[in-house]
């Protein structure tokens, strides 16, 4: 019954399993255990269909539309369109999940992954048919490229689902998701030779994390600093690792490695973490934990005692 827990929130999954057991016992006494087991399997299969089909249909159509638009940009010699479509899809999915949240993390993840892969396949198939240079790539070349895109899609979808609203035990899911998405964006911008754009991405991710920490009323300064330092370090470390693996002949990697070697990167990470931790200081009154509005101050210009005396 693990699949039930992936598709329904915990309390509803428990109730569903209880209902199934109740019905199964009733059916087994009437039609026999074999037919009751078949009924049980059919019910679980129908739950899977009912819980997933809306999201899958939405994901496939959304992915196909964005993929076609990106392909249109590419056909107009605006290659940036194919790169831009990925962050656009992630942002659009996050907005969608905020407006109409799927009930579980698995459903959010599946929707994001289906959208991402549909879009990738549309773009890839389009370029494969339109660009004569790509026609020379053999089957193995296509396979590893698509597997690479699947791996990126898995990570991006996991982060998108993690950052979208839903019941989560960890308050650090947003910073973690931001750092992974930020790292992806930095790598893409560095590959597109946009060094300054990469700095803008780092600043945006840190600003978003600081804003999240401020909204969460993360009180001790040290905790805010550690979270920001973690986000910074994950972004820097992963970018460096990926540059080393796939682009060690590029200027971006040499510049990055030089920063690492002379220790400037550590200073940069510590300094920006410190600055953004200070920036995320909560300046307003703390939120009421009971959900009630804080008591209004007594604005009566004449205190009750003096009014009675007069």
């Amino acid at each position: 019954m693990t699949i039930v827990r992936l598709l329904l929130p915990r309390d509803r999954a428990d109730a569903f399993e209880g209902d199934m057991q109740e019905e199964l016992a009733r059916l087994a006494s009437r039609v026999g255990p074999r037919r009751a087991t078949l009924w049980h399997a059919r019910e679980v299969a129908l739950l899977v269909v009912h819980a997933m089909w809306r999201w899958l249909m939405l994901a496939v159509s959304f992915g196909a539309i964005t993929g076609t638009v990106a392909l249109g940009f590419w056909a107009l010699d605006l290659e940036i369109g194919t790169y831009l479509s990925f962050p656009v899809v992630i942002l659009a999915l996050m907005a969608l999940f905020r407006a109409r949240p799927p009930q579980t993390y698995f459903l959010r993840f599946l929707t994001a992954l289906t959208t991402f892969m549909t879009m990738t396949v549309v773009i890839y198939a389009g370029i494969r048919n339109l660009d004569s240079r790509v026609a020379t790539i053999d089957l193995w070349g296509h396979t590893w490229r698509l597997c690479m895109m699947l791996a990126i899609g898995l990570v991006a979808s996991a982060c998108t689902a993690l950052m979208s609203p839903g019941k989560s035990s960890s308050p650090y899911r947003v910073p973690f998701g931001l750092s992974i998405l930020g790292f992806g964006a930095i790598y893409v911008t560095l590959m597109a030779r946009g060094g300054w754009l990469a700095l803008a991405v780092i600043a945006t991710v840190l600003l978003a994390t600081a804003n999240f920490l401020r909204k969460q009323d993360t009180q001790p300064f040290a905790r805010r600093f550690v979270v920001l330092f973690g986000v910074n370090a994950v972004m820097a470390g992963l970018t460096c690792a990926l540059l080393f693996l796939f682009a060690h002949d590029r200027f971006a990697y040499r510049a990055w490695a030089a920063l690492f070697q002379n220790g400037l990167l550590y200073v940069e990470i510590a300094a920006t973490s410190l600055a953004f931790a200070l920036l995320s200081r909560v300046s307003r009154a703390p939120r009421s934990t009971t959900g009630r509005a804080p008591d209004k101050p007594d604005l009566d210009p004449i205190p009750a005692e003096s009014a009675r005396r007069s």
Partner: protein, 106 residues
């Protein structure tokens, strides 16, 4: 207010008809009686989840029982917004029904 789908309306109506003690199994039985066809428990639960997100029903847990493997029942109740949505759906159906040419008349 978001429009209700046919099945959503049927589930909402089933919860209203059962009044107290509407949970998965009883809602499903009521739906089968109302619609005269098989209804899966999965469809009932996903629809109830959507209705809850729309703020049309609320749920609360009962006590766990041994017949259910120690799992609690989840009871559902229709909110005032749910009753309003049902009324609105009924009015729209009546309006459309009035516009429909009656059978056997020219």
């Amino acid at each position: 207010m978001r429009a209700l789908g046919d099945f959503e309306r049927a589930v909402l109506l089933a919860v209203v008809r059962i009044e107290d003690g509407a949970y998965g199994v009883s809602i499903r039985r009521e739906l089968e009686r109302m619609l005269q066809r098989d209804v899966s428990l999965g469809a009932v639960y996903t629809t109830l989840g959507r209705l809850q997100e729309k703020g049309l029903v609320i749920s609360y847990s009962g006590d766990p029982t041994p017949q259910r493997g120690g799992r609690a029942k989840k009871f559902f109740k229709v909110e005032s917004a749910g009753r309003k949505a049902l009324d609105q759906a009924r009015r729209s159906a009546e309006l459309l029904g009035a516009l429909h040419p009656a059978r056997g008349t020219k």
